[in-house]
């Protein structure tokens, strides 16, 4: 299958020439294919175990399953910055100032037992300052990078989107994390701010399609550090590719749910792997590589 690619796009084109939506019949077929393949893969899963595929572990699962093994999630100033920052961006779009919007996000999260609340509650001042600093920076980047006024109407997606193709708590959960929907409802253009990865765009599009029975038509990933904007037009090919990735990723991670070790496939991804220190295969591979710093042989 051809590797999906994001094509460079300028903001002015994001809501122009939007492709036709994937048909209901095609969506039905995709869902049926996905369920059939996942059912076969998840035979023998330990009770209560769920294989989760999200934007953080998808690439890892496809390159080296062991690298996708779960690490405990920690709420901290960095990991809460997007959630708080996105709430603030929405508030700013409604006329609030950024500093006030950040404070409102913190207050709302505490009052509504948002997942960030466990980190926000009873913070000492320097920790609250760090939290506000990261959230403010995230929001300010989003506000200065995206020309929101030209992409109206905008509907912010504050929560992650979950889809369990085999049924709730039935072994597989797919998670999407778009940031906003752009343009008219019928245009179904989705925006995410982050690392430009076409597979992530396709995964999110698939999850949204399965959850709402209506596929997005275009997925935009904006990456502020590079100033890049990339588009993936969502057609059957893109969704088929997403299904193939999900099936492969679930297949790679399922052994963990049967009490078996995950397969290692050392390679370039070892350098950034969370588990590299304890991975004998990874360490061995890295030791055999020519020593480079900044890409230069040293």
């Amino acid at each position: 299958m051809t590797e999906l690619q994001l094509r460079p796009i300028v903001w002015e084109e994001v809501l122009q020439e939007i492709p036709a939506q994937v048909s209901t019949n095609d969506l039905r077929r995709l869902r049926s294919d996905l369920i059939e393949q996942l059912r076969e893969l998840t035979v023998g899963l330990l009770p209560g175990h769920e294989v989760q595929i999200n934007r953080r572990n998808l690439r890892h699962a496809l390159t080296c399953p062991a690298s996708a093994a779960e690490t405990p999630f920690e709420a901290n100033a960095v990991t809460t910055s997007r959630a708080l920052g996105l709430m603030a961006v929405e508030a700013v779009s409604q006329g609030e100032s950024l500093p006030s919007a950040i404070q409102s996000s913190v207050d709302w999260s505490l009052e509504n037992a948002h997942w960030t609340a466990s980190f926000l509650v009873e913070q000492v001042e320097p920790v609250r300052a760090a939290t506000v600093a990261y959230a403010t920076s995230w929001a300010a980047r989003a506000l200065t990078f995206v020309p929101w006024s030209t992409l109206q109407p905008v509907r912010f997606q504050q929560s992650t989107i979950w889809q369990s193709p085999l049924g709730y708590k039935k072994g597989v959960a797919l998670v999407a994390r778009p940031d906003a929907y752009l343009g008219r409802t019928t245009e179904r253009v989705v925006l995410s701010l982050g690392w430009p990865d076409a597979k992530v765009a396709a995964l999110d599009a698939l999850v949204i399609a399965l959850q709402s029975n209506s596929a997005p038509r275009r997925y935009i990933i904006g990456y502020p550090p590079a100033g890049s904007v990339g588009a993936l037009d969502i057609d059957s090919t893109a969704l088929d590719a997403a299904v193939a990735d999900v099936v492969e990723a679930v297949g790679a991670l399922v052994p963990e749910g049967r009490g078996e070790p995950l397969f290692t496939s050392p390679g370039q991804s070892c350098w950034n792997c969370d588990h590299r220190i304890g991975c004998a295969d990874g360490v061995r591979w890295m030791e055999l590589q020519p020593k480079r710093r900044g890409g230069l042989l040293v």
Binding site: A77, P126, A133, Y134, L143, P225, G294
Partner: protein, 327 residues
């Protein structure tokens, strides 16, 4: 006569510069810079492996290519006390930028902020210091915290502060990656006028490289956003000096030539070229000095010349014990 450093509204005025009209954005500048930087690498592409270039790489490559390779090849040394001080001050600066006061124990504040940001390394580095080093650092950081508290103002709501703002620019289809992180980015361009201010925070004194670093950030921002920044510079916390300079076309051209020169050297080395040696006064501090004939020769010649010059001075009547002659 010494002038006191800017504080409060004076800092805001230096950032806003209401006396300077924002220039129009020349939309051809970013593509021109990109073309010039990519042309610098053309001769030696394609590479087997992408190269990553930051401001340190540029600096060292231009100083001496052999020094760059030697520096990259050495074992990573633990951060020095000044580096740890800089990291602590960065945390406190962030606190002030978002309007929070710094408490009575600034080092404790900074370490708590680092812990909360999943930066456990800073506390480990602090704990690894000798008590006397901690005492010295605590004193200087506390002094800087007081200065920050008394000088750095609350920012207006439209400032849109981006702390530790990263830029990552790929050239030549990803074979060359330019990266940098400026301590604070403020404002933004309008549709047709420049508007962003980039500030790097320094916990020490002026260095010769500071202006060149500002040029580096200007290049990255221009490539990242398509628009040059309005101004770039440094904030020196100990002295309180805010050294910002509006970015001109000439500044960008000069910075582009500098970065292009560095890219050309780095890519040539990456493609298998022999690093050239450019001896200079800093040779004795180079990791490769002991094995570098050119460097040692340069220092020997310099020392001999200095010795001769001093010897000449000893014979000169100007330096008689009775003082200079009236002749």
């Amino acid at each position: 006569m010494t002038t006191s450093p800017p504080a409060g509204a004076e800092i805001l005025d230096l950032i806003r510069r209401p006396d300077i009209e924002r220039s129009d954005i020349d939309h051809s500048i970013a593509p021109t810079i990109r073309r010039e930087l990519e042309s610098a690498a053309d001769e030696h592409l394609p590479l087997d492996h992408p190269v990553r270039i930051n401001k340190e790489t540029v600096r060292r490559a231009l100083r001496c290519e052999a020094h760059l390779v030697a520096h990259l090849g050495r074992d990573v040394e633990p951060p020095t006390a000044p580096m740890i001080r800089g990291a602590l001050v960065d945390r406190l600066f962030a606190q002030r930028v978002v309007g929070f006061p710094i408490g009575a124990n600034p080092v404790s504040d900074a370490l708590a902020a680092a812990d909360a940001s999943d930066d456990r390394r800073l506390r480990a580095l602090w704990d690894g210091l000798e008590p006397s080093e901690q005492e010295e650092l605590r004193s200087s950081v506390t002094d800087m915290a007081e200065k920050l508290s008394s000088r750095w103002p609350p920012l207006p709501p439209g400032a849109y502060p981006r702390l530790q703002n990263t830029a990552r620019i790929e050239l030549c289809d990803g074979q060359i990656i330019l990266s940098g992180r400026v301590d604070l980015a403020l404002g933004r361009p309008s549709a047709e006028k420049v508007g962003t201010t980039l500030i790097d925070v320094k916990a020490g004194t002026h260095r010769l490289d500071d202006r060149d670093d500002a040029g580096w950030y200007a290049i990255l921002e221009t490539l990242r956003s398509g628009a040059p920044p309005f101004q770039v510079g440094n904030y020196y916390v100990p002295s309180g000096e805010l050294d910002l300079k509006p970015v001109t076309v000439e500044d960008l051209q000069r910075a582009t030539r500098r970065v292009a020169d560095a890219i050309s050297r780095v890519v040539r080395i990456a493609a298998g070229g022999t690093p050239k040696r450019s001896p200079g006064p800093l040779c004795p501090w180079c990791p490769a000095y002991e094995a570098c004939d050119e460097g040692q020769q340069h220092i020997r010649v310099r020392d001999e010349a200095t010795g001769e010059w001093l010897g000449d001075l000893d014979d000169d009547e100007w330096y008689d014990e009775e003082g200079p002659s009236d002749d």
